[in-house]
């Protein structure tokens, strides 16, 4: 079965969807990403969709579901590179990408994840502060 490759870069996982998504591929991606987050302890997931010609409610649900599972595993999902026509259509369709951060392109998406990773470095200190209170 086809699989979408997942790349690890520092504390982030990167996926670029380059094919027309069908059901099995979407489910496989969700499973693979979840397993990979658990295995690597990644804190950010970047999903690049500039090649996607449409996002329907099925693909939208997959993205929302990946983001929800990632969040439970303490990783944040950023969807990057959505085409303008896809964005217009999504809004008209009524699909809300709940719990997903979006970025115009991969560069800005990675910047969002980097913020999260650097907050984490500082974050341990503030967590400790809170416990001492």
């Amino acid at each position: 079965m086809d699989r979408i490759p997942i790349l690890k870069l520092g504390g982030a996982l990167i996926v670029s969807i380059q094919v027309d998504m069908h059901d099995r591929l979407a489910l496989a991606l969700e499973e693979d990403l979840t397993a990979m987050i658990a295995r690597t302890g990644a804190r950010g997931v970047l999903i690049e969709i500039s090649a996607l010609e449409i996002v329907d409610s099925f693909i939208g649900r997959m993205l929302v579901s990946i983001a929800a599972v990632s969040r439970v595993l303490d990783a944040e999902t950023v969807v990057a590179g959505m085409r303008p026509a896809v964005a217009i259509t999504l809004v008209e369709l009524g699909l809300e990408l709940t719990g997903i951060k979006t970025a115009l392109n991969v560069e800005r998406g990675m910047a969002l994840i980097q913020v999260r990773l650097s907050e984490e470095d500082d974050g341990h200190g503030s967590d400790r502060d809170r416990h001492e209170d």
Binding site: R24, D56, R61, I88, T89, E92, G94
Partner: protein, 134 residues
Amino acid sequence: MTVTKTEALPVRSGDDVVRVRQRVRALAVEIGLGLVDQTKIITAASELARNTLDYGGGGDVRMETVLAGTRKGLRLTFEDQGPGIADIEQAMTDHYTSGGGLGLGLGGAKRLSNEFHIESTPGSGTRVTIARWK
């Protein structure tokens, strides 16, 4: 209104949904729809094909390029012989779903089309027709 071309495809698997999207895209390009309109009709077709598959138990889609005066359009008719919809008004409501979906299919497809028509008879099936005009 005259029909200038008719094609049909089965909607019986997830792969069929992908094929329907690809064919609708080709026809939308052929009649000269702009990029946003193409995206809208392909997305609407994807939603309706999935409804046909998930709720209608599979069916067929008829794709027609049509001409009204000098206006070109793309008309899609999704038909299944499934359980039908008892309450169409409720089914059209956003976020109402009888299955595991988001419940955006019918209402969303209507918003993405210039024309929308649904007929359903409980026990014998559902037919949804949409059109997008250039």
